[in-house]
Structures are given as structure tokens and as C-alpha cells.
């Protein structure tokens, strides 16, 4: 049996849900950030699958945009998390509580 479009989409939806679950349930900024990347890659998988099965290359072009943007986002994001760790000696969301009224 060759995998059809819906197989890819199910995997993609699972990856996306896993990412969302990771963001809401984890407490470490780095793991949260990994989960966010998982969400972007779920979208990439869906785009490539749609592209392949609909014979429309636009989706694959979009994947390149997403990969580029994700790389930029990771570069900035990790730099920020490292800077925060240096300042606070912690990279946990519980410690992000200095801003409130």
C-alpha cells in the first residue's frame, strides 16, 4: 500500500498537536521552543504533501520560505533565551514573573 494524502495529513496533524501540547504543558523555555519548531515543521509536511498530490509546486516554494523564516526565528530566539539565562540563571517559565501590576 502506498501512503495517500490523508496519511501525510494525519502525521502532520499529529505533529502539530504534539507541538501545541508541548508549548502548553512544558515549563522549560528550550523545550517550548522545540515544540514551536515542531509546529512549523508540521505545516511544512502538510504543504509538501498537498503540493505532491495536487501537482502544484507553489506549496514547496512556501516550504522554503518557512524554513528560512524558522531559521531566523531560532537564531533570534535562542540568543534571547541565552541572554535571559545569563541574567536570571534560569530558563523556566515560572521565573518569568517580574512584569505585573
Amino acid at each position: 500500500m502506498t501512503p495517500g494524502l490523508h496519511h501525510y495529513l494525519i502525521v502532520s496533524a499529529l505533529l502539530f498537536s504534539l507541538g501545541v501540547f508541548g508549548v502548553v504543558s512544558r515549563r522549560s523555555l528550550l523545550v517550548i521552543y522545540m515544540s514551536l519548531e515542531l509546529m512549523l515543521n508540521a505545516a511544512n509536511l502538510a504543504l509538501v504533501a498537498f503540493s505532491q498530490f495536487n501537482n502544484n509546486l507553489d506549496g514547496q516554494v512556501m516550504v522554503f520560505f518557512i524554513i528560512t523564516v524558522a531559521a531566523a526565528e531560532v537564531a533570534v530566539g535562542l540568543a534571547l533565551i541565552v541572554a535571559l539565562y545569563r541574567k536570571r540563571r534560569s530558563a523556566h517559565v515560572e521565573d518569568l514573573t517580574s512584569l505585573k501590576y
Binding site: L36, M62, V69, E73, I81, A83, L84, K87, L96, L99
Partner: protein
């Protein structure tokens, strides 16, 4: 392809690169010069963008990028807010480490906004939004010696990346079900696509991304923290440019790509608008930090603007655009003062503003005018937008109860906002405690920025006609050409 359509974007990018490179040759004692270069450059581009009487309409990149009345309307305001923000940073150029990069990042974020105003395709929309968001991650956490700024940056990072994750997945679903990501092509097939659940889920997820950008409930959690933690000049840009870019895209998606579905979902948008404006207004009441107060006020304003979108009419869209025009001048004036005062006293608490009326009459007048305009009191710029907005809602209130409820909620919101805005005004002129009464010096560029904003607020309040005409023209361009051809009697825009 006609590259002249992209001239504004190309020139702002070049200006940003020039500022970045100029830093290599200019001695660190003359850093301030780069700010003047950036400000002059934007000023020239602004006069060029606004002054061109009839900018040629057209599309580039196979219809992805469109220049029309709406994009021109927004581009003027984006350049204006970039100009004011750069002017505000010049005074503190010595204290910001990496000042050239700060200016360059503001310019690059502006490029993202300019592209967002012209985006006619979900792919360009995503890339433009990410260009804005990623540069703002850095701008928000720029004073990295203050841990509040870093914390705000990390919060913005997590929430922003989450929103773009939702949006990208939504775009993937839209592409999968429609086979295209271009707004006009989607508009031509929207009756058929409106029945596809995959398309509708994709559209909802995309709206999550936009909802984050404009800080609408339930994606508003980041706004107060980020507004408070970020440097005041960044907050000013976030509250004006970034929010306006979100609304530019929201209007285009709602009325160019899927007008029929928007009409169908108008009650949902209306409900979100009401909840957003009440949430923002109520949470602003106990705030002590003025920057945080502006964060909640910004949420409340997003709520009002959503009501205009939910009116699903030409008048509603015109009101949204008029409101945004006045709002940008008003908020920039407010943040010009907040930036000076917070830099002076190292605190954004209301007590830092106590006695400002005696310390610097200019600053106190500026902030008062801004807050009064935000509250929507005539004859200032904030009034007319709010008036048009409520009028567009009232047009539906007779036939639908929900619109009546929204109208009442908006009026309640205005009354609550009077209370918290005047709390700040009272602290400035009638402080409870005897405050430090040393005068606050205001540098030239800040005076210029404040002057531009105040004249704008007063002028637009007294003579709103030009702005309303521009807004009407821009809103009229939102109806997609193909959709008119397909449906002669258009149910959405009447």
C-alpha cells in the same frame, strides 16, 4: 515586472543597510548622526509617498504584491510612525548600546509593514508578518541590561512564534483546499471553498496569527507585559506600526479574499470585539504603570477596531481606517512623552508623572492631548474615528440585537476609559504627593516628533475630511475586482 511599484520598500531597505554600514565608519561619538540620517531619509520618503498625487496602481510578483489606495493609505502611516520613533531615539542615542542596529532594525520592521500593506497573497502576508515579528523580538529586548526588557522579549518570542505556528498551519490548509494562496483567486471561488471544512479551519488558524498581531482577546496576553517591559520607543512602534499592519492584513483578508465568509462570521468578530474592548478597559483600571496602562488601552482599541470590521460595510471599513489614522498620531504623541519621562526617572509608574504639569508644561500638554484624544473627546483626532465606528455599528443595531449590545458595550468602554485616562492627567496636574519638581529637559528631535504628532491630532480633529476621504477611497478598493464580476449584486459591500 514593474519594479517601480516596490520603490518604497527597496529604498527603506537600502536606508537600513546604509545606517548599518555607516556605523562601521562613523566614530562612536557621532552615533547620533546615524539617527539624523535615518530620520531625514524616512522624512523624504514620507513626503514622496504622501505627496505623489495619483500613485500608479498595479501588481507585482504575479499578483502577490499589490499597490492600491489601501496600501498607499497605510504606507504613509507606517513611514510616519517610523519617522517619529527614530526621532525619539536620537536623544538617547548615547545610552542605547548598538544604536545603529536599533535604527536599522526599526527600518527593517518598517519594510515588513510596507510589504504587509501590499500583501495580496497568504505567502507574502506570512513573510511580511514574520519580518515584523522577528525584528520586534530584538527591539523589545533591546535594553538587555534590564531584566524586564529581556523577559518581555522572551514572552513576545514564545507567543509570537506560537501565533506564527498556527498561522503557517492555517496557510498550509488553505493552500491544500484552495490550491492557491492568492487573495483574488480565493475570492473568485469562495462560495465553493466556504463549504470546505479544511479551508474554514485553515482560515480560522490564520486569523489566530492576525489576532495576535492586533492583540485581540483571546490572543492578548502578551500585550501588557511586552508594552511594559520593552523600551518606550519600541512600545510606541509596537502600538502603532505593528498593530496597524495587523489591521491592514485583517482588512485585506476579510474583504478582499473571503468577503462572504466574513459576512457569515460577522457575529463572531463582533463578539470578539466586545470582549476585547471590555477586557482592555476593565483591566486598565487598577494599573499603576503607565506603559502597562497603554498596553491595556491598546487591547481596548483593538476591540473598537474589530467592531468596525464586524460591521461588514463600506462605512465600517472607512471608520476602521479613519480610527487608525487618528490613533497613530495620538499614541505616538503619548509615547513621545512617556519615553522622555521614563528615561528621566527610570520608572514608568504613575508617580513618575506626578507634577509633570510644573516640571515640563510641554510634555504634560502632549500627554494630556494624547489621552483626551484616546478617550475620544472632540475636537481631537480620536473622536471622529470613534464616532464613525459607532455610527457604522448603529446602522445594524436596529435590525440585530447583538449589534445593539455591542453599541452599548462600546459606550460603556468609552466611559470606563475616561476614568483611567484621567487618572494619569490628574496625577500630572494635581498630584497627591509633593513630587520632585526639577524641570525635565526635552531635546530638539523629541520636540519635533511631539510637535508633528500634536499638530496631527489637532488638525485631524478639527478638519477630518481629508482623512475620511482617503479612508473611504482606500476602503472602496477592498472589494475584489473578480468578485464583483462574479457577483454583480454584492451582498457584503453596499
Amino acid at each position: 515586472m514593474n519594479y517601480s511599484l516596490l520603490s518604497l520598500e527597496i529604498l527603506v531597505t537600502l536606508l537600513g543597510v546604509a545606517v548599518l554600514l555607516g556605523d562601521l565608519w562613523i566614530p562612536s561619538s557621532a552615533r547620533r548622526l546615524l539617527g539624523y540620517v535615518a530620520a531625514t531619509g524616512i522624512g523624504i520618503l514620507l513626503t514622496y509617498a504622501v505627496g505623489t498625487a495619483a500613485p500608479p496602481d498595479g501588481t507585482a510578483f504575479g499578483g502577490m504584491f499589490v499597490v492600491d489606495a489601501l496600501s498607499n493609505y497605510f504606507k504613509g502611516f507606517f513611514l510616519l510612525s517610523a519617522l517619529v520613533v527614530v526621532l525619539l531615539t536620537i536623544g538617547s542615542s548615547e545610552s542605547i548600546s548598538g544604536y545603529a542596529e536599533y535604527c536599522a532594525l526599526i527600518l527593517f520592521a518598517t519594510v515588513g509593514m510596507l510589504f504587509a500593506a501590499s500583501a495580496n497573497d497568504f505567502v507574502l502576508m506570512f513573510v511580511a508578518l514574520e519580518l515584523i515579528t522577528v525584528t520586534f523580538f530584538i527591539l523589545v529586548s533591546y535594553s538587555r541590561n534590564r531584566s524586564g526588557s529581556l523577559e518581555a522579549g522572551v514572552k513576545y518570542l514564545i507567543m509570537g512564534a506560537l501565533a506564527s505556528g498556527f498561522m503557517v498551519f492555517g496557510i498550509a490548509l488553505i493552500f491544500g483546499s484552495a490550491g492557491t494562496t492568492q487573495f483574488y483567486e480565493i475570492a473568485a471561488r469562495q462560495t465553493e471553498l466556504g463549504r470546505s471544512p479544511v479551508f474554514l479551519i485553515g482560515l480560522l488558524l490564520t486569523l489566530v496569527g492576525l489576532g495576535f498581531k492586533i492583540a485581540a482577546v483571546p490572543f492578548q496576553m502578551w500585550a501588557p507585559d511586552v508594552y511594559q517591559g520593552a523600551p518606550a520607543t519600541t512600545t510606541a512602534f509596537l502600538a502603532t506600526g505593528s498593530k496597524a499592519a495587523g489591521f491592514a492584513l485583517l482588512l485585506r483578508v476579510a474583504f478582499s479574499a473571503v468577503p462572504d465568509i466574513t459576512a457569515h462570521w460577522s457575529r463572531l468578530i463582533l463578539g470578539l470585539g466586545v470582549v476585547t474592548l471590555l477586557y482592555g478597559s476593565l483591566c486598565a483600571i487598577p494599573q499603576r504603570s503607565v506603559k502597562r496602562l497603554m498596553g491595556y488601552s491598546s487591547i481596548a482599541n483593538a476591540g473598537y477596531l474589530l467592531l468596525g470590521v464586524a460591521a461588514v460595510s463600506l462605512n465600517g471599513s472607512t471608520a476602521v481606517l479613519t480610527y487608525l489614522g487618528g490613533y497613530i498620531f495620538t499614541v505616538l504623541a503619548g509615547f513621545a512623552v512617556i519615553a522622555v519621562v521614563t528615561a528621566q526617572s527610570n520608572s514608568d509608574d504613575v508617580s513618575a508623572f506626578a507634577g509633570l504639569g510644573q516640571r515640563s508644561p510641554l510634555l504634560a500638554t502632549g500627554l494630556t492631548v494624547s489621552l483626551v484624544s484616546l478617550a475620544g473627546i472632540p475636537p481631537l483626532a480620536g473622536f471622529f474615528g470613534k464616532f464613525l465606528l459607532l455610527k457604522s455599528i448603529a446602522a445594524h443595531a436596529g435590525s440585530e440585537r447583538l449589534y445593539l449590545v455591542a453599541l452599548l458595550a462600546a459606550c460603556v468602554g468609552v466611559v470606563i476609559s475616561l476614568y483611567y485616562y484621567f487618572g494619569v492627567v490628574r496625577a500630572m496636574f494635581w498630584p497627591r504627593t509633593v513630587a520632585d519638581l526639577t524641570p525635565i529637559p526635552v531635546d530638539g528631535p523629541t520636540r519635533l516628533a511631539l510637535g508633528i504628532c500634536l499638530i496631527g491630532v489637532l488638525y485631524l480633529g478639527v478638519f477630518p475630511n481629508a482623512l475620511v476621504q482617503g479612508a473611504k477611497q482606500a476602503a472602496a478598493g477592498l472589494v475584489p475586482q473578480t468578485a464583483i464580476a462574479a457577483q454583480p449584486v454584492h451582498a457584503v459591500h453596499h
